[in-house]
């Protein structure tokens, strides 16, 4: 049971991180490789501010979310939008976006690495105090409760928004055919920047919550999480938000299990192996549709 609870907490952080990535990838077609760097940098910004001013939890989370959203929107505007404008075909645009993202990601990571001298950072100066609840033999902190509520709540809200709202419809239309969508009055550029801002905000939220949950974060966390998020999205199927939710909890469950049987050093192989197996057995993922691309 304790494992189940840990899975839920871990999975919720994974979920918040992967949701933003999946949203951007499945609608505006951008796989943002800087997502992990944004995650780390926004948590670091909150840490930086908290060094000088003692702050409550919501303020730190707000800082992290805002930094993440700004950084992500800027990346979209200054890098990805320019690449899309300048490339001729879909495939080359995809690769250049990937490479551009890798380049952009190196910058905030290098800044954090220098500022912290590669040491993990945390919110030691925050006014937030973690409390432990005991309930029927289960140990649970108030942090993990917040994490689970935020993760599941936002995932459900985002899924519903994408399904039912007008903007959600426009966004999905871009995902199917961006040219036709823009003829139907969807402003692709604005939508894309908005989507990336939401994605970055979610990364910032995930970052701040991760630091509250684990007390510290290392610089390399972002890259690992990026690959894991890719595994989750692929497992669930690109374009399906329910798939991301499933993917996040399956991966978290598998990793918790690996830790429980004391094979901790193999934990990274789970997500990599998962990517492999899914791509081989069912490339479109569990809930995904086969991609149709007309040339």
């Amino acid at each position: 049971m304790q494992e189940l609870l840990n899975t839920l907490t871990l999975g919720s952080i994974y979920l918040l991180f992967a949701l933003g990535m999946a949203l951007a990838w499945s609608t505006i077609g951008i796989l943002n490789f800087a997502h992990g760097a944004i995650f780390v940098f926004s948590a670091f910004s909150a840490h930086f501010v908290s060094e000088y001013v003692a702050m409550p939890m919501p303020m730190l989370i707000l800082i992290s979310v805002l930094v993440g959203a700004t950084l992500s929107a800027l990346t979209q505007w200054l890098a990805f939008e320019q690449i899309l404008k300048r490339s001729t075909n879909h495939r080359s645009a995809e690769l250049r976006v990937l490479i551009g993202g890798i380049g952009v990601a190196a910058i905030p990571i290098a800044i954090v690495d220098r500022a912290t001298a590669s040491a993990p950072f945390g919110f030691a100066n925050s006014t937030y105090k973690s409390e432990v609840y005991e309930f029927m033999g289960l140990r649970m902190t108030n942090t993990s409760l917040i994490v689970i509520i935020a993760g599941v709540g936002i995932a459900v809200a985002l899924t519903l928004w994408l399904r039912a709202s007008r903007q959600g419809l426009g966004l999905r239309a871009i995902g199917v055919d961006s040219e036709t969508a823009s003829l139907m009055g969807v402003n692709r550029t604005v939508m894309a920047i908005g989507t990336m801002a939401i994605a970055g905000g979610l990364a910032g939220l995930a970052g701040a919550l991760q630091v509250f949950q684990l007390q510290a974060m290392g610089v390399a966390t972002g890259d690992q999480l990026l690959i894991k998020a890719f595994a989750m999205i692929v497992l669930g199927g690109l374009g399906s938000m329910a798939g991301v939710i499933l993917g996040a909890f399956v991966l978290a469950g598998a990793e918790t299990l690996i830790f429980a049987v004391d094979l901790g050093t193999w934990v990274d192989a789970v997500s990599f192996g998962l990517i492999f197996i899914v791509l081989l057995v069912r490339p479109q993922g569990i809930f995904g549709r086969q991609e149709v691309r007309r040339t």
Binding site: L95, I102, A106, W266, A269, S271, F272, F276
Partner: protein, 319 residues
């Protein structure tokens, strides 16, 4: 010259090993296969050679050959499995492969030395050997860039359906490129490890993928010359400008991002474009009226030299 070389031997060596690694990733890219498996093969080759050399008393060159072959074979098997995936999916699957290599190396117990890696595998390799091996690899790659074979590769990259319709066995080419990439990556790993005497799992990570990619993107992805330019820039920049060494990662990040936006075919593509423009302008200026028709004339120039060059400059968008 000799004095210059002796004072810079280490950097020259780093340039050559970086170039080898970059070539192993550039080759599949030239065929439109977005594979980072070369970095994993670097690990396989390096570990195999180091283990054979330190634990089984195999000589330097047999260890290098076996490491290279094993990496090639494993990469070919990987290719058999995943060559049908496309674009990003293939890229991420190969990143996963690379990282699995690192995880296996970390968990290899006494054989791979765990997280601290293998030490003391100093083989009898010097810079001349590396240079000769590099020349051999580049010669092979240069052959694959020209003439009939070069055009075949270009068509497999640009339009696989068209290539298949022309009777080119696309899937066989894509599978074989995994073999070639694995061999070059394995060679790079084996040689680098026996030169530097150590290999650790921490080296075979995402950072190495980024580094190899940076080399290719800066130099240009269409030819080995591009990788050479990139490798020279990447390894010499920190030694020439001391402030670069301090801010290395940030500057590389900026360079890669800027190159991805403005310079998709790298320095080489830029140079080729300039040369092409200069040549066509020089030829077409005398008969043409001075102002308006110059650009037009360069477009439909009848004797456009070297078809694969003009193809390379038009497909600037590939990377």
């Amino acid at each position: 010259m000799i004095a210059w070389y002796t004072s810079n031997a280490v950097v020259v060596q780093a340039t050559m090993t970086t170039l080898l690694l970059a070539l192993s990733i550039q080759l599949p890219l030239r065929m439109g296969v977005f594979s980072f498996a070369g970095v994993g093969c670097f690990g396989i080759g390096g570990y195999t050679a180091a283990i054979l050399y330190t634990k089984f008393d195999v000589g330097t060159w047999p260890a290098v050959v076996l490491g290279t072959l094993l990496a090639g074979i494993l990469c070919y098997l990987l290719g058999l499995v995943i060559h049908r995936l496309s674009g990003l999916y293939l890229g991420m699957a190969t990143v996963a492969f690379t990282l699995i290599v690192a995880v296996v190396a970390t968990n290899g117990g006494s054989l791979t030395g765990g997280a601290s890696g293998i030490f003391g595998a100093l083989g009898g390799i010097n810079n001349l050997h590396v240079f000769l091996l590099l020349a051999l690899v580049i010669a092979g790659l240069a052959i694959s860039e020209y003439g009939r074979f070069g055009r075949k590769i270009d068509s497999v990259r640009e339009d696989p359906e068209l290539a298949a319709a022309l009777g080119i066995n696309v899937s066989r080419h894509r599978k074989l490129v995994f073999l070639a990439s694995g061999l070059i990556g394995g060679l790079a790993g084996a040689v680098t490890t026996l030169l530097r005497s150590t290999i650790t799992p921490a080296e075979i990570n995402f950072h190495m993928v980024v580094m190899a990619l940076t080399v290719i993107i800066i130099g240009g992805s269409s030819s080995w010359l591009g990788a050479l330019i990139g490798a020279v820039i990447i390894t010499w920049l920190p030694t020439l400008l001391s402030f670069v060494a301090e801010w290395e990662s940030i500057i590389y990040g900026f360079i890669v991002a800027l190159a991805a936006v403005f310079l998709p075919s790298g320095v080489l593509g830029l140079a080729k474009g300039l040369i092409h423009r200069w040549r066509s302008r020089r030829r077409s200026t005398p008969p043409a009226p001075p102002s308006s028709n110059v650009e037009k004339a360069s477009d439909d120039e009848p004797s456009s030299p070297e078809p694969e060059h003009s193809l390379a400059s038009t497909q600037g968008g590939t990377l």
